[in-house]
Symmetry: C2
Subunit: 154 residues, 2 copies
Amino acid sequence: MSVEIERKFLVRSNAWKTLGTTVSMRQGYLSTHADRTVRVRVEGKTATLTIKGRSHGFSRGEWEYPIPLDEADALLSELCERPLIEKTRTCVTHEGMLWEIDEFFGDNQGLVVAEIELESEAQTFALPDWIGEEVTGDVRYFNASLLRHPFTRW
Amino acid sequence: MSVEIERKFLVRSNAWKTLGTTVSMRQGYLSTHADRTVRVRVEGKTATLTIKGRSHGFSRGEWEYPIPLDEADALLSELCERPLIEKTRTCVTHEGMLWEIDEFFGDNQGLVVAEIELESEAQTFALPDWIGEEVTGDVRYFNASLLRHPFTRW
C-alpha cells in the first residue's frame, strides 16, 4: 500500500494545454463505494487495477496492480459500472512540481481538474496562474462519483 | 479471463473429512454486487485478488491476480466489507475428479458445501456418497451473499 496525498483544483484558462504531454485514459469501476473503490484503467498500452480506501483530509490509501491490457479491456466492456470515464491527462511541470490536468469527455464534457501529488500534507508548492479554485475533498469531483452524477447534469 | 464452470452441493455426512488435505482460508469482499464481485483471499502464505462476473447457468467469468500477502492482510483488515469469511477447504479426489469441500465458521458455522469444477457444462461425473442436494445457482450459498445473510440466521 502507498498513501496518496493529493490536492485537486479547477483551472481558469487553457494555458496548460500547450505546456505538457497528453495521453488518453479510459477507466471504469468495479466498486464505487466511498470506503473501497476498485478502478480499472487503460492508459495507452498499459492497464492497472487500483484499490483506494476512504479519504482522510488530503490522504487516501492506494493499492495498485498492473494487469494485462486484454483483461482490462474485457473488464471495462463486460463488468464495470456504466458509464465509463473517458478523459485525457496532460502532465505539466511547474517550478519543479508535476501537475496532472484531466479533461473529461462524454457525460462529463466541460470538466477540467488539475491534481498535484505531495510528499506530506504540509508540503507547500507554487500555484501556476492557470489554477483556479481548490476542490480537494469535494466528493462531486471524485472520478467514482462522476459516474452517478456526471458534470453535465450538475 | 477464464470461465469458471462449477457445480455446488450440500454434504450429508462427515465421511469426506478423512479423505483429503485441509487448508484455512480467510476472505473478504471489496464488492459484493451480483454483476461484479471483487474478493481478497489469503490461503496459507499466498494471496489473490479475484474478480467474478454474473453467473450464467453453471458458468461465471473469473479474473484472478496474485497479490503480496501483507497487502492482502491490509485490504482484509482495513477495507473489506464486514464480516470476513473464515473457512477451511478440504480437497478430495473421487473417481478422478477434484472436490473442494468448504466448512464455514463464525456467522456461517454449520455450513458445509462441496464444489466441483468442470471443463464444460455438459460434463458428467460420479457423485460421492457423502454428497447431498445440489445448490448450484442458489444465490444464498454464494460466498458474497453469506456476508449479508449468514447461515446461522437463515
